[in-house]
Point group: D2
């Protein structure tokens, strides 16, 4: 089955982003205005108390929101985050985090996407973070 040009573009922004690769983030599912990702929780992600650092959570959320936004773009368009807001809802622990990005609004210039981060805790998923990301559309370099 052929991948859509949007899905190819999303896979590319994950593969080419060194920081995303360094954190071990991978794409697990894509849909219209939707991107789902996974990040294993490793010692490198921890802050001083052993929880996942807010910066690692934000990286996961920002890039996943960007992936969701890119799933709404035309061929040849890119997106760039201009601001983000992240709430750390609960301390995040491993073994892995799941992140779901969805587009709230894709305007002519501005795209707004959300991303929720879930940890596995006592055999159930727990929402540990939620981000809102504002992006602008750009011609791809």
């Amino acid at each position: 089955m052929n991948e859509s040009p949007q899905a190819t573009a999303v896979h590319a922004i994950f593969a080419k982003a060194n920081f995303v690769q360094a954190l071990g983030i991978t794409v697990t599912a894509l849909g219209e205005g939707r991107c789902e990702t996974r990040m294993p929780v490793l010692p490198m992600h921890q802050q001083q108390d052993g929880f996942v650092h807010a910066g690692a959570l934000t990286t996961l959320a920002d890039h996943t929101a960007g992936g969701a936004a890119l799933m709404c773009m035309a061929e040849g368009e890119a997106v760039l985050s201009i601001e983000l807001k992240m709430n750390m809802l609960s301390p995040a622990l491993g073994p892995a985090l799941r992140c779901v990005g969805t587009v709230l609004r894709a305007g002519r210039t501005v795209v707004v996407a959300e991303a929720e981060v879930f940890a596995q805790q006592d055999g159930a998923e727990k929402r540990v973070g939620k981000a809102t990301v504002t992006l602008i559309r750009q011609r791809r370099a």
Copy 2:
């Protein structure tokens, strides 16, 4: 000269946070409600276009804001980021970023700090990001 208990606490949260160590962030100056840090720009920090990833900028800003907040705490108190907002003002490039965190308000329960991130460009400093971070006071574990 002896370091203050607050300065010792700040150095500890930078030394013990694996994610901050992995990114190469170091404390360069401390003052009352003030923390200054440095992060070299390495290939690992890049997003798909070669700029510093918003998540790396946010990590730098969040931890530096936390350091500034900790400089206002009493002995035995810790701080925890509950939410952050970051504006990416310009694409950030190397060779290094400087971050300055300052406390806006230290209340009984809630502390609000800001962090500005500067890059070196054409021999001058350029502000590339600005964050606002909300933290809560906690007894240290």
Copy 3:
């Protein structure tokens, strides 16, 4: 049918808040961690181009998020917004706006709620704004 103590508390914070009354905001439905409100769009709400002012949208969203948070509190507890973030997704026009507030996380000290604002356009609802609000629990005065 008797109203729950939480619902009584929510009705009180809408009735006693002069600014909310001045804008014409009313509660239309309540549930567990959920509050729904309505604001008629009047000339007084407009900014310079005739759209609803971002500040009026934010007032609606903030108070509705606070109502949702209060629906999760114990008797004698109050909530206070410490920060909010609002995205204006599309220009908002009348005749009325509907707002839905929901609680994302009710922790021991911190409560995080969201609020979405909808306008009526061409016979359908359109999401024109989305807010995230961070609140702290307090003993009621």
Copy 4:
């Protein structure tokens, strides 16, 4: 002395915005990328505990940030807030609030401005709120 076209444009967006007029907000000073305003604290601005409502504070901050942004624009350009973030640092009381808006970055498409709100307390000024506002440039209608 003649007013600059930018200053004329700022005065116009305050005069034409009904919501800003209803709240009693006036421009008190203008400069390059800078706007200062005043809002008397009236009973209508209050929330349920007698403090200025977060929505009124946000209105003041948003419009003042917009004024500062407009002071950086070329003739014929307008600005529109696409998102804002406000921290309520302390409960705000009267008799009046002073707000200072400054531009952090004026890019080709996106403008980022800040606004600080000060109350008078015990004969001194106290910072009660701080906002960051993201705006986009537009051709004036």
